[in-house]
Structures are given as structure tokens and as C-alpha cells.
Symmetry: C2
Subunit: 225 residues, 2 copies
Amino acid sequence: MQIEFKIKLNNSLFLRDPDGTEIGKNIIRKSIKLISEIGYEQFNFKKLALEIPTTEATVYRYFENKHKLLIYLIDYYWAFIRYQVLFNINNLKSPADKIRTIIDLLVWEDNSVTYSTDIDQKALYYIAITDGSKTFLSKEVDNLNKNQVFVPYKELCELIASVFKEYNPEYKFSNSLASTLVEASHLQYFFMHHLPRLCDFADHKDPKVLELFLENLVFGALDNQ
Amino acid sequence: MQIEFKIKLNNSLFLRDPDGTEIGKNIIRKSIKLISEIGYEQFNFKKLALEIPTTEATVYRYFENKHKLLIYLIDYYWAFIRYQVLFNINNLKSPADKIRTIIDLLVWEDNSVTYSTDIDQKALYYIAITDGSKTFLSKEVDNLNKNQVFVPYKELCELIASVFKEYNPEYKFSNSLASTLVEASHLQYFFMHHLPRLCDFADHKDPKVLELFLENLVFGALDNQ
DNA sequence: TTTTTATGATAGTATTACTATTGTTTTAAA
DNA sequence: TTTAAAACAATAGTAATACTATCATAAAAA
């Protein structure tokens, strides 16, 4: 089955909508490729233009700077995950099953379903892990936030928090637990591959064990109060 | 009571030991001041030299680049927190009390004990929150890790994990729970002040409520298995 | 068919992230 | 006490980054 998937992102992120033109789509596609290959710090618009290929000036007509482009990619990522969550918990009755499904979707496995977007989902997942938090961890955060650029992330967390509330209406920290779950799913995956002493999954590097940890964490918190 | 506190950090982080000279100590002091004021991205060695005051060239004789300097600061921070944890859980019998003490030390409160180092502890805490994860979230991570630069962070997590093991020897994810706790303590504090919809502490911005969340999270996980 | 818009090609600027050199001061060893 | 070594200031310079500006051309819309 091929599912069409379109997201409209906050237009304060770009000068020209990259989704409207072929060259714009290439900026997105190739920036995902390049950032996942060389890392966000080494990435710049000159290298991107070379890769597309186009000119640096053209890239600057779409995005003010590489930070805005990164936020665009990460927003897309969160919106996409949220879509998958909505789609997959839709027909589930039990909140516990919904939670397990959410955790399964948050952690990449090589048999993960990919959709017919022209975007390299796995590369984008790696960027989200390594660079996602850089979108907001800066002095710019309050200004960016005024422009609503973190809405996709918030909406995903809200959705997850609402499932937590469904599971246990008495639980007082649904939002914090949701953002902690989302962040931990990324960070523990990163640790599993790069800083194994900070986690307990180094031996087999099995995402399923990471999921077990997260399930224990979430249900432990929700059942504890 | 005034407690003297000295830490020797990994010498692959610097070219000349900043702890050995007055100008070196100023590099540390003033970089903490500057980074906490203008943010890591806007910070550079030219501005730092101006602040000290010294020349840019002199700063480069101590640190290769600003990323290494950041790691130095963050390593110092983790070593310092670990020292505080060791000191404060030393005379506690109950593992549960130790855990509550650890969580209390991880979350900044304005009545937090500060030590007679010449370092602005609160400014360093803010840098650790906003920039701490930038030390390892890059393509450089594996090379840096080979040089042992993340040891202070690992040692803190190991210490915390050992307390978890003491509390519940059956628990399988002590390391992951430790790193998740440490990261969540920072991130939820950041959300409390900048992205309130991602947490549940926005109303009163009370660190004590954040501590409650973390305690529930940790004991929930540890009691669940 | 004319006008608008997007892109390519090119050039240029300010800032960043360094490296190199040389003379002077401070510190340490002889 | 003298001498040598190390540290620092002052200055200059380079390569890369992060943009901005201009103008010609091609494609699309009116």
C-alpha cells in the first residue's frame, strides 16, 4: 500500500515554500542526505548547492539560514511521526496498547514501515536524534517559539499526553512524561550506538530492548500514582 | 563552611592547563559568564579575549577551539555534581533517600548550596542545560569518546546507576534510567522556562514540582519490575 | 505578447576560526 | 645573580563561512 502524505509547515520557517517547486524539494531531499552524512555543524549552503546542483544564492532564496532549514526538517519529522501515531492507534481500544504502539513508532527498527514520500526516512530519523534538540536549545528559543515553529513537536507531545491521560486520568505529569519519553527514545538510541556505558543496550544493540526500557519507564510512572 | 574543590580534567581537552595560571582561570570564569549571557552559538574567542581582557591568540594557546572549551566546562560541571552527590549521600542509609537526594542535587533551586570555587555555579548550570548535550551530539562523538572526554558524565551516571541497583538489584536498566534522569532533569527545567506546553510545571515554575515528577518517574520504573 | 517570477552566474562583504611572527615580560633553572 | 626558557601581547594574515547584491536569462502567468 502506498500512502500519500503532505504536510504544510509554518511559513515563518522559509522565504519561499520548498514544497512548491522541484528545486525546493531537492533542497529538502539533499539537505537530509548531506546533514546525515557530514553532520549539521559541517553542513552549509555552499555544499548543499553543489549537491543539488544549484547556486548558493538560490538556496538562500528558500531559507534564511541553515538553522531555519533544520527546524523545517525537524518539524516535518515530528508531524510525520504524529501522523503515524494517529494512524496506528486509531483502531486500538486499550490505552495500554496505544502506548506500546507509540513507543514502537518512536524507536526506529529496520523493518519500520516507510511511506511513499520521496524523503529518506531513516536519514531523517538520524538527523532528528542528533540535531533535533539543537532546534530549541539556544538563546533564540523564545523568539522562535513566538513564531509557532515548535508546534509540530508540541502537538505530538500533546497527543501522547492525551493517551497517558486516557490510561490514567489521575496522573499529574502527562506532558512531562510525553516529552521525556520522546527525548529518551532518541537519546537512548544514540547512546546505544555511541556511548554504550550510558545505557543498557550495548550488547545486542536491539531496539526492542530499548522499547522494553521505555515501556517500563512509562507504565511505571503511570501506575505509580 | 567553605569547601575547597579541585578537579583535574582530561588533558586532551586543552593545549595548556587553564587551571595552572591566572589567565587560564580567567578563560574559564569569563567563558562561563559570556556563554551564559550570549549563548554558545554567538560565543567566540575574540569576544572572550575582549572580556578577559587578553588576546585571541592567547586563548588559542589554551584551547584548540570553542567546542573543546565547552566540553571542558561541561566535564567540570558533571565532576562537580558527582562530587556533591558523593558528599551528600555518604551518610545516608536508605537507597530511597539517596535517590531523593540525587534528584534534589540535579535540579537547581535558588537555595542550592554553592561552594567556594570562583565559578558562577548558576551560570554553569544554565550552560549545562542548554549546551551540555551539544558536547556529544555530533559526528565527532566517537573520536572524542576515544579520548575519554565523556568520562565525568559516565562516572556520574554510573554512580547514580549503582544507587538504583542498591535500591532494586533486579532492575535491568540502571544505566539508561540514570542517563534518562540526568537528561530529563535538565530538559524539563528548560521546558519549564521556555516551552511550557511540553511540561506540567509552567504555572508555578517550581523546581520542587519538577523533582516530584522525577521521583515518580524513577521510583515508578524501579518498583515496576 | 507582455510582464512577472525564478534561477544562474558572478561578485563582494563581514565575521569566524584559526595560524604565524616578533618583541617583551615573567618565571624558573643554572 | 645570571641566563635560558616559557608565556604573553601585539599584530598580521589566511581560508572558510554566512551571508547580500546585481544583472542577465529562462520559464511561467497574465
